[in-house]
Symmetry: D2
Subunit: 343 residues, 4 copies
Amino acid sequence: MTDGIEDFGLSCGSLPAGALNAITDVAGVRVGHVTLRDGDINTGVTAILPHGGNLFRSKVRAASEVINGFGKTVGLVQLDELGTIETPLLLTNTLSVGTCATALIREAIRQNPDIGRRTGTVNPLVAECNDGPLNDIQALAINEAHALAAIEAASEGPVEQGSVGAGTGMTCFGFKGGIGTVSRRIRLDGRDHHVGALVLSNFGRAGDLVLPDGRRPDPRRATEAESGSVIIVLATDVPLEHRQLKRVARRAGAGIARLGAFWGHGSGDIAIAFSIADPVDHDEKRGLVQTQVLNESRIDLLFQAAAEATQEAVLNSLLASPAFKGRGGAHRPSLADWLRANV
Amino acid sequence: MTDGIEDFGLSCGSLPAGALNAITDVAGVRVGHVTLRDGDINTGVTAILPHGGNLFRSKVRAASEVINGFGKTVGLVQLDELGTIETPLLLTNTLSVGTCATALIREAIRQNPDIGRRTGTVNPLVAECNDGPLNDIQALAINEAHALAAIEAASEGPVEQGSVGAGTGMTCFGFKGGIGTVSRRIRLDGRDHHVGALVLSNFGRAGDLVLPDGRRPDPRRATEAESGSVIIVLATDVPLEHRQLKRVARRAGAGIARLGAFWGHGSGDIAIAFSIADPVDHDEKRGLVQTQVLNESRIDLLFQAAAEATQEAVLNSLLASPAFKGRGGAHRPSLADWLRANV
Amino acid sequence: MTDGIEDFGLSCGSLPAGALNAITDVAGVRVGHVTLRDGDINTGVTAILPHGGNLFRSKVRAASEVINGFGKTVGLVQLDELGTIETPLLLTNTLSVGTCATALIREAIRQNPDIGRRTGTVNPLVAECNDGPLNDIQALAINEAHALAAIEAASEGPVEQGSVGAGTGMTCFGFKGGIGTVSRRIRLDGRDHHVGALVLSNFGRAGDLVLPDGRRPDPRRATEAESGSVIIVLATDVPLEHRQLKRVARRAGAGIARLGAFWGHGSGDIAIAFSIADPVDHDEKRGLVQTQVLNESRIDLLFQAAAEATQEAVLNSLLASPAFKGRGGAHRPSLADWLRANV
Amino acid sequence: MTDGIEDFGLSCGSLPAGALNAITDVAGVRVGHVTLRDGDINTGVTAILPHGGNLFRSKVRAASEVINGFGKTVGLVQLDELGTIETPLLLTNTLSVGTCATALIREAIRQNPDIGRRTGTVNPLVAECNDGPLNDIQALAINEAHALAAIEAASEGPVEQGSVGAGTGMTCFGFKGGIGTVSRRIRLDGRDHHVGALVLSNFGRAGDLVLPDGRRPDPRRATEAESGSVIIVLATDVPLEHRQLKRVARRAGAGIARLGAFWGHGSGDIAIAFSIADPVDHDEKRGLVQTQVLNESRIDLLFQAAAEATQEAVLNSLLASPAFKGRGGAHRPSLADWLRANV
């Protein structure tokens, strides 16, 4: 287990973390990675499964927020029209979204032979960041088998962070970025609920990072454009309707901004929020369905959790990533090293 | 009671109408008009109350769709963020939106003395069309008392249509337009439900109107720009979440298009849809609230109802309006006269 | 050359057509098809190239409108953030979007070896309809070579319509649908300009189709849900900024509605509009760039053209499609046959 | 002249300020205030004029971003459809938006007697925050004369900040808030350009404020909900199309988030951005109009300016506001006092 921000004396907000401080604190959520590291190939796939069952049959309610749309995410049009996710969510490099989408389609057909026959089609969900500076992205190294392997590897419990899965070749504020995750515990009607975040961090100009204590770590690289993107996945067990999920997803942008980013032109900053409560049955027969929604006047709890969790998850993605040598010898320092050297 | 489209051998779609064929077929919905006709003054206010109680305390779920935004509707920002309506909805002429908004604010404070003191503020909802060609709109003839009188006049039961209330000075496809209303009855889980529409029609180029049978009535006026706007209010007792209400509201645009309009540049075409089911308690204390939503796979019933009802409500607004002489003697023929002359 | 709507005594609106009455009346626009017909395989790819050069280097200004988002179009997030198209636009079946996206990426890299190395990544653009009722869509029969072949086949001049390319296995209002195209000629500042439309028609419930003369052709099939989608591509040589292109794209929905559709729940109805005027140089060095925009008060010309062209292009897609036997012997009648039998 | 953030050893980012460090560094922009302080009445109006001429005749290009829509701004529907501002922008308290809208309408008619007669209607633009905690907002103390007086008071040059105009009764992070303004100077094609910001600050939970150096000033008030709103007006002389202006407006949210806010549920956080370059002539006769747009690859300069300027303008609004006693003796401390006591 890598050090978290508290091991460096940092904190993001005031809400407590869940038991694992990971998106998997939301019951049933699973995460799996496939990592490719071979010479100039430094990339991978990360799969997030809202639950362990058949997602096409039992969809989860979801919404997305395009913070900055210089990105190639696949699946958002239908996600926001219908308010559901019906496949695993795959994260990968920018040029592999097509391959991952096809893998999700093939896997959904395998599990649901009625797709495109006696029922409708399936909406694959794939998000990406550009790992070109550290990975030979033109090689299109990810194939469908990698995508399926990430799904098969998905499990509950602790989540590996840093330069793993889709995070393998990512850069963030000039430091080595990648996968980070946290959770927040909130109370409603006397019961515990969770908000979890998992980020794929690949954004931020070198020199722009601001720590929660106001310090500005310097990766000693020339200032360059904010590009590369960040994907933020928010999960919760609080029942939320689409409009509420979209409001929550939007707050991921606040977490990013607190780190010093301004959602740069070349950065595809996308947040996707889903709730595992009250899944939507593909074969529902009733005309009207009972469900629950959050009393809107309590939603600040989720907004705060989303902003704090996003901020901390990005920091975790940095802290969990050791210094890295990528394509053509390109080097990325580790934020953890900087913090140890600047106590 | 004026003739409806069936009296002229026309029909819009296949769904049956409710008992009144009016928005008031949705139980509890109330409509009231105040009409000003005095020389060059030909204008008014129409109030739509989703229910007869305190709307600020018991809000109804709602969404809007801006079909074409050359319009000055007040209140849509909050309506779509929070998904609720918390005042009566007032329709009036374009330059009177400010006055009507202030009237709604004052009335909400009278009923809820905690507004702006121990609770938040109130979001007034006012929509408009430009009746300038038939009304001395620069006179700003509507005052706060008129707005309140329309609210007080609101009642369940049959709705007066045509050149009444906000519809007094409106023009549609070169004919006299105004207020029109219809309803559709749909069945879900073995129970009857309703979708009602009320329109304020003031759009469409002369000569562009297409009747359901393909005929193109000619008001014998020179072709002019499509301008002036149309407001479509859709009410239902089917429980719908915000995203679903927005999808339904959007279908009002299909109803408008079927009449031959293309949502002209100068036309403020706005649809507002609300559901009286599961109102939102301003003082809700629970964190999670039970509610119902429509099984999405049945929503085509509401889409069809929304499109058909909008189309027919516009035709009703035309048929209920006799030939009219307005500001400076400007004349508008009646579609009913054209139909009687062109059997 | 197949018969157009005028050969059947029909017309959509009043604007004149261009020389070819095809999207290729917009100078430089190219269209190419690859058609797969082999037993239960009835599908294909259609490529639309805004110009014949390197689209990544010389992007065209564009916008999209999601009329109903039950669809899997790839590339819209970035298209609307940046307002440009930078690859050919491919149309295909729903489950082949991933493969077509990968083909576009590979081709863009081939032409621009700096992608993902010394410049950013590329945003592939793929739209789709579900041809599952007539095609063994689970076979994923489209491969990258088919996608490239459609691009290579693209040419100026007349466009093949009906059951060709992506249109091979499509169904529309219970009749055989597919590819349709038209154009409109408009005048600005004393010069001719064009608006072209190309549709992939796969929407509409059997029995809902309304002809411009009010007739309702009956394909003699049981009423079924409106599903399957329609993609509308609008091209113009009028210089338009993103906001204007989005307004124009939205009017495609009016054209669809005039045909009797209400943008059904299960239908992915997506419009994409682009202008070939003032392309955006990927390597632009100046900070400020001279461009032209349309005087907004003339935009009704484009709205009317977009609505009329969409309506007629769908009718063309039907008229150009002979009766068809697809997967498992499923039969689709031809609208042209119905019209010949119902003079 | 009040102290700025640099007088307290603080800074927001790296871009230089303009000569006045005010929105009026954008040439021609004018600001005027009317302040009402009388017992429990603590409110006012602030007018922002993009230029000194007839705004209805010569509109400025604009866009808005609804960061969180718990707000009652008037005029955004048309602003974003047409991409222009055509009246002064008035800021005031929440319940006075109707009155201010009517004042703008009457003034526009006075200047343009063709409104609603021989040309279309006018779209008034009014934004608001809720000053109820310090002002007897139920009194509706603002009348049309106040609104006009703010417009008449508008001038180029230094801008009064703090508890003035619409800012009179505002609260921000538990401290006294109000009006704040700054500017940033950027270079394009060898010439200086400016981005100016003016905020009306009334948001943020007490205790949540984070200074640029990481400190968290404590106003010694119980934590309460983030409510009350913030309006951010961004002006520039860089030519930007609507899409670009909307992207720039969105970055105001980043500036707000950096201060510790998460765009609370009850906060109406609205940004409006306009460019004084290439105004739109209401009476334009040409079909196509020459204009300039920013090379998109330079837009990070404006994003950074918008985020930094918003952050600093809020701090200025706090620093310029002395401790305040409002309605019923409610007290708000001054951030400047806290900073002087916590060097």
